[in-house]
Amino acid sequence: MTAAPRLDAPRLLKAQPVLSTVGLRKTYGKVVALEDVSLHAYRGEVLGIVGESGSGKSTVLRLLNLQESPDGGEYFLDLPERNRQNLFVLNRFETRQVRVHHIGIVYQNPHLGLRMKNTSSGNVAERLILAGERTFATLRGSARDSLSASEFPVARMDDPPFKLSGGMQQRVQLAKAIALRPTLLLLDEPTTGLDVSVQALVLDTLKRLQYELGITLIIVSHDLGVIRTLADRVMVMRGGRVVEAGLTDQILEDPQHPYTQQLVHAKL
């Protein structure tokens, strides 16, 4: 068995990545959750992360969201005020600033991202309040804009999320995540649990927003159909390590690593 041939470094693409991590490592007690995970993504690019439960893909997302600290590694985002600064060494106040202004996240479980009994518009406005906005009219106007960009029916913007369908709840999360036009949008199984037709519509909204806003998107999913629809490149994880990375169609149609071949064939 010969190893997959190595590729050259980029030569034609002159842009620098918006996001890069070097050697992420994370342990929980004796369990090594991540080992030597390096990744990068460009402006307007969608990077997919696939792998089975326990592969470490959600841990990567939590580190990128600055929710947890790693045991090793560095993380850079191309932000004017944080030029070439490892985001893992920021203090709590600085971390919060970066999270509020530059990183949005949509969770599989809307309870993690939303206050279910507050109004939907209030949920979205919360982001803006954290960023310092205090004028009621502005808050409401911006919340309405974000909700409508996420294709949420604005007539229902004052309904609390617990009264909404699963697809609608994900649109509220999305509106909240993009309210401040973040640099990076993280998606953790955003359409898992939605029925197929609703899933297609949410994916379509995501694709449109990502293109219009030029956001860099990282999507974690075990659903290869979702990854095929959205991602430009894919990273395959197993046991806390990256086993293979490549263009989405290449990973799905000509997987090189035994584990990826197993994964792809299991889904067909």
């Binding site: 068995m1 010969t2 997959a4 041939p5 190595r6 590729l7 050259d8 470094a9 980029p10 030569r11 034609l12 693409l13 460009y42 690019e45 037709s197 297609a200 519509l201 379509d204 694709k207 293109y211 430009d232 490149r233 990375a245 490549g246 263009l247 169609d249 290449q250 149609e253 000509d254 090189q256 035994p258 071949q261 197993q262 064939h265």
Partner: protein
Amino acid sequence: MRLLSVEGLTKRFQIHQLRREVPAFDSLSFELSGGEFKLVSGPNGAGKSTLLRCLYRSYLPTSGKAIYCSRLGTIDLARAADEDIALLRRQEIGYVSQFLRPRPRVSALELVAEPLVHAGKSRDAALRDAGESLEAFGLKPELWNAYPTTFSGGEQQKVNLARALIRPNHLLLLDEPTASLDATARLALADRLDELKAQGVGILGVFHHPEDVGELVDSRIEIAPLESTNVAYEPEARPA
């Protein structure tokens, strides 16, 4: 002007579960110039489609080179970084298969116009060009604003071709695009390919019925099945 030089390109699939290597083609070498239409021929299973997919990098070539002169510089498609391949796909390398990948709530007209909008054309101008292209391929105007998810195979293929050929690429890979097309659409395809050739686009195509594009073919590459000679050779090129 030389556009692509393929040197000793080889593809083998490793099926880990079976601990087997399945060879697709071995040591192919040929050249393609700008404005040249080269037909890839050979029996079923010789690896014609696999060759196109290796050049588009849906498949990772096992060894060999494919030196491509892009507008941005010269690069080996077999070993180029994923990021560079993604960039070339967005800007100058097109791949046309037999299948359209429709998206929910995106009309035929918008789907065809999209590559032009992404390339920076205004929405109105792009939609106008898309309409002209769909008209040429013979898609009924009442379908332009409908969603292709529900179209017949032939109608979907018209949308697929209109979308894939609307932007003047530098290198175009055609994988049996005439399957399930009616006569009008086959003629429109030939006309469009002729136009693209005149603009200097290099075309590499696999056709089940080469007579559909007979007039346009400048040269051929024959891929022999691997059991025999394993070598690609080029019969004499037609005088230009």
